[in-house]
């Protein structure tokens, strides 16, 4: 046993010292030969004779050296190295072939790596905590299938009833105004968490202590845990910060702990407060679903079991509290999945399918080039077979060549993916993505690249290799690559691959066309708003100071007055939501169907806006008027709807003067007082990356929310007006900070990003696919011409015209192109169904797009085929006939 191990080690050592040991052995042999020669001379031979006899007696030096190497080293590895060296020499020799294959595959690998890196960074990356894979997010869906939160009371019941989780914790995002002695108030992202949240995550403060259950009780003294950033920036990382009192939304709270660096659970929070500090938590009814829940799966529990248990719990609650919980179902997904969604639907799926197609096309291209070259390799291979190389040995040699090509492609693919992923990372840098999401090349990405390299080598290399080794030796030796027979089988293969390439290109081009059209529609729709010089910001009124609607209304009125007095600002308005960003959706009832059971089928986004909202956006009312100072006062319950609302819910009717009601989200379906429509606004989008939907605008006075968005159009430099605005807000109340400062133009871009990224990426992929198909077509035509040069010569000698010769080749190609186009169109129709979910105002079967794709590909195909054909038809018959 030990001896065997010792021998193995000796062999590995010897393998790495091959040249040293070879020299050593040579010397030994030489001395052997010399001694034998001397003895031979002593026996009476002439020196020449003696040396000759000695050499024969000892044996061939080359063969001995080879066998010595085998006896002491790693023979299998040695021959692999030999294969590698041979393959490398060959690839250097066939420079053009190598370049063509590597470029095709590198494009395929590059785009796949890019998409995988993004999906890896967003969809696959886990929270940086212990065993993140077992952290689950729990939420609900209502009867209409809309995603909802969890009510505090439901959470308590889930927590008490659940056995499949080691701990269930609740959290709710918030934002806080943080006042530290001697500094102006700052606005930070914060989070209310139940006392067990950090222990469920298995994280604990680096300084101070974690929350205790008694901190998370109503009426408990206010405590707060701060993030590492807050601790270092505001307290100079001083441990004595623990126990200090700071003002949180104007009320004092004691710091009890500091979380570790780069902990910002759940998304980008910087401070954490006990859930009990959440305003009005105790008063929240069962249908105020304001918290989110997460938990750690208990050991040995599967996701399916957890889902079954939660489903049983929610069914029980629905039976117990039908008024609030009817139709509410529980959902359990991986924690990170609730933010980015599943990678198997929507944009990630479309991207993966698209790059998969590009890779397939690249593989088909490479396989075709290999098959074409196989013809010229045949004599070499037959010679090796005849000399006794086994079939497996030949396949291995050829596979090593493919692997080498794929490895080269992998390197170039990575080089291609690097700037692409950097660009995506840069573009999304200000998207406020969760702290765990990061686009980087990590081990998983490198593993992925290695896997697809080996995978592609198998897909494009193994079949040609097997085919080449398959044919008998005798026929191969005879076939020196000039006859037209014998290649028909491989030509059929090549044609099949070509048809596949064209079909996949059609699908990609059509998808790209639809997505580009959709992105343009979205862009064009946004252009109704003149977004230049429009600065946006958000402000939050501390709940303590502005507890009543009256106090908030007063603040906003004063603010509007003050801003209007700034000369450099043309117009400004507040609203609960800005254009392009999401607004809450509520069910709407028309006065005509108040009693009707169908009341729940109409819904609209609702937002409260200041009186100059549309004026600031540069829009005028389609009909009626915009809000004035009296709207929202008792007796003045008014609303503005957008054009889409009218076309969808009041087609052909005069909307002005009609009355609508907003229905409460709870199952009680309490409806608001009737609202009179006073104006019809132009349709603007309040949804990210989606088509605009019906909107009901309410006067801000009717819904004075504590957090408001602001926008203002400045006459000149917008950065200067931000500081002016900041000044005004500070003069009104130093505890009200301004944050989320941006421009409407940027918000419009951000909200269209998914569409823009999808369409531009698919455009890139489709362009690559078309290029590869054209390359493939060109290569195959060139190849088939080279096989039939003598035939061309005969035909020309017999009087065929150039056009006739060209047609000879074009005809066959056109059949393949036509077949590919037909199959591709069928595939594109199917792909349209996948795209339907993301398309905006675009028909998934848009005839214009489909027709352009067909024409484009047909033209590209004919050009790619005609170029070599035309050149061939210009051959001098005499030259063509003598060529082989």
């Amino acid at each position: 046993m030990l001896g065997a191990l010792r021998e193995r080690c000796a062999r590995i050592r010897a393998f790495f010292r091959t040249s040293d040991l070879d020299r050593d052995f040579d010397e030994e042999l030489q001395s052997h030969v010399a001694m034998l020669t001397e003895d031979n001379v002593r026996r009476g031979m002439t020196p020449e004779e003696a040396r000759r006899a000695a050499l024969i007696r000892v044996g061939g030096a080359t063969s001995l050296r080879e066998r010595h190497r085998e006896a002491r080293g790693l023979p299998a590895f040695d021959s692999l190295l030999q294969d590698l060296r041979f393959a490398l020499r060959l690839l250097v020799k066939d420079r053009w072939f190598t370049t063509a294959v590597v470029v095709a595959l590198a494009l395929g690998v590059g785009v796949n790596t890019t998409v995988f890196t993004v999906i890896n960074g967003w969809n696959l990356r886990d929270l940086p905590v212990d065993e993140p894979g077992r952290l689950m997010h729990l939420g609900t869906r209502d009867a209409q299938g809309r995603t909802r939160g969890v009510s505090y009371l439901d959470f308590l019941d889930w927590r008490d009833g659940s056995r499949t989780f080691t701990g269930l914790a609740a959290y709710a995002d918030t934002s806080v105004n943080l006042g530290v002695e001697g500094r102006p108030a700052d606005h930070l992202a914060g989070c209310f968490v139940s006392a067990n949240a950090f222990s469920v995550l298995r994280e604990r403060p680096i300084v101070g202590r974690d929350f205790r259950p008694e901190d998370d009780r109503l009426g408990a003294p206010a405590v707060i845990i701060v993030g590492h950033g807050v601790w270092t920036e505001r307290f100079g990382a001083d441990p004595s910060a623990i126990g200090r009192t700071i003002r949180v939304n104007g009320a004092p709270a004691t710091i009890i702990g500091v979380m570790p660096l780069s902990f910002r659970f759940p998304y980008l929070a910087e401070v954490w407060q006990p859930l009990a500090q959440m305003p009005d938590l105790a008063a929240q009814p069962r249908d105020a679903r304001a918290v989110a829940v997460f938990g750690r799966l208990a050991d040995g529990v599967t996701l399916a079991q957890a889902r079954a248990e939660l489903s049983a719990l929610t069914t029980a609650l629905a039976g117990q509290f039908p008024a609030t919980n009817q139709g509410i179902r529980g959902t359990v997904v991986k924690f990170t999945e609730q933010y980015f969604g599943s990678m198997t639907d929507g944009p990630p799926l479309i991207m993966m399918v698209a790059v998969g197609f590009v890779l397939l096309i690249a593989c088909a291209n490479a396989a075709n080039l290999l098959l074409a070259r196989a013809a010229s390799r045949a004599p070499e291979i037959s010679l090796r077979r005849a000399l006794g190389a086994s079939r497996g040995r030949i396949v291995r040699q050829l596979f090593v060549e493919s692997l080498l090509l794929a490895a080269l492609a992998g390197v170039f693919g990575l080089l291609l993916a690097w700037p692409l992923t950097r660009a995506i990372a840069r573009e999304t840098a200000d998207f406020d993505l969760p702290y765990w999401a990061r686009i980087t090349f990590d081990g998983r990405v490198f593993g992925f690249v290695a896997t697809i390299c080996v995978g592609t080598a198998i897909v494009f290399g193994l079949a040609p290799a097997w085919k080449l080794s398959h044919l008998g030796t005798a026929e191969r030796l005879r076939d020196t690559g000039r006859t037209t027979s014998g290649g028909s089988r491989s030509r059929r293969w090549m044609s099949g691959l070509l048809v596949g390439e064209i079909a996949l290109s059609v699908i990609l081009l059509a998808s790209a066309g639809l997505l580009i059209r959709s992105a343009r529609m979205l862009y064009a729709a946004d252009q109704v708003i003149d977004a230049s010089n429009l600065v946006t910001a958000r402000l939050s009124l501390p709940p303590g100071k502005y507890g009543t609607a009256q106090e908030r209304i007063a603040f906003y009125e004063q603010l509007e007055l003050r801003i209007a007095s700034i000369p450099s600002i043309a117009s400004a308005a507040i609203g609960t939501a800005l254009p392009f960003i999401g607004a809450t959706r509520r069910d709407v009832a028309l006065d005509s169907d108040l009693q009707a059971a169908a009341a729940g089928t109409r819904s609209a986004q609702t937002l409260a806006i200041g009186s100059r909202y549309f004026e600031t956006l540069g829009l005028s009312m389609q009909r009626g008027r915009s809000f004035d100072a009296r709207d929202g006062l008792p007796g003045q319950e008014t609303a503005i709807v957008n054009e889409r609302f009218v076309t969808m819910y009041l087609p052909g009717l005069d909307a002005i003067g009609r009355r609508i009601r907003l229905i409460g989200s709870g199952s009680t379906r309490a409806s608001s007082a009737p609202l009179t429509i006073v104006g019809i606004a132009p349709t603007i989008r309040h949804t990210p990356a989606r088509d605009a939907s019906p909107v009901v605008y309410l006067p801000s006075r009717a819904q004075p929310a504590a957090t408001m968005e602001m926008m203002m159009r400045s006459r000149a430099n917008s950065t200067a007006s931000v500081s002016l605005l900041r000044e005004e807000v500070r003069t009104l109340d130093a505890d009200v900070p301004l944050y989320h400062i941006s421009t409407l133009e940027r918000l419009s871009q951000q909200s269209r990003w998914t569409q823009r990224a999808l369409s531009s990426m698919l455009g890139l992929f489709a362009a690559i696919a078309t290029l590869l198909s054209a390359m493939g077509l060109y290569a195959i035509t060139t190849y088939s011409i080279s096989r039939r040069t003598s035939e061309i010569g005969i035909r020309m000698a017999l009087g065929a015209q150039r056009l006739q010769v060209s047609w000879l080749f074009l005809r066959g190609t056109l059949v393949h192109v036509g077949l590919g186009l037909t199959i591709g169109l069928a595939g594109a129709v199917a792909m349209g169904q996948v795209l339907r979910g993301v398309l905006v105002q675009t028909n998934a079967l848009d005839p214009f797009t489909f027709a352009s794709v067909v024409v484009l590909l047909a033209v590209v195909a004919v050009v790619a085929c005609l170029a070599p054909t035309w050149r061939a038809s210009a051959l001098d018959p005499a030259v063509a006939l003598r060529r082989d």
Partner: protein, 117 residues
């Protein structure tokens, strides 16, 4: 190629190993040429293999740790690699010899059986 070693009966390989070990144990350090000559003489030139083959056997025995190799100077002042048996090689020689004697005895008895019957 390497098949040759394996194709020739393994007995030959084992025999050659044993011969080399025994020779080195009996005569002390020797170079490859000397070993080849000695074995040829002992076998009455019955083993007509190319002399170079001895080195394939020697490198294997070195890897197994049964013999040591070191460069030195031959009797007529030539640079040569000298092989000597190691402690492990000595033990191996004992086992191999016992093995050989057992097999030889067994075969001998078997052949005697054959002549009687």
């Amino acid at each position: 190629m390497s098949q040759e070693c394996q194709r020739k009966p393994d007995i030959l390989q084992g025999t050659l190993d044993l011969m080399v070990l025994k020779t080195l144990a009996a005569m002390g350090p020797m170079h490859g040429y000397g070993l080849a000559r000695r074995i040829e003489q002992l076998s009455d030139d019955a083993m007509q293999i190319s002399q170079g083959t001895i080195y394939l056997c020697l490198v294997r025995l070195v890897h197994k740790g049964w013999i040591h190799a070191a460069w030195g100077t031959s009797e007529n002042n030539r640079k040569a690699k000298f092989y000597s048996i190691s402690k492990a090689g000595g033990k191996q020689l004992v086992t191999e010899t016992q093995n050989w004697e057992r097999v030889a005895g067994m075969i001998g008895r078997l052949l005697q059986l054959g002549t009687r019957g």
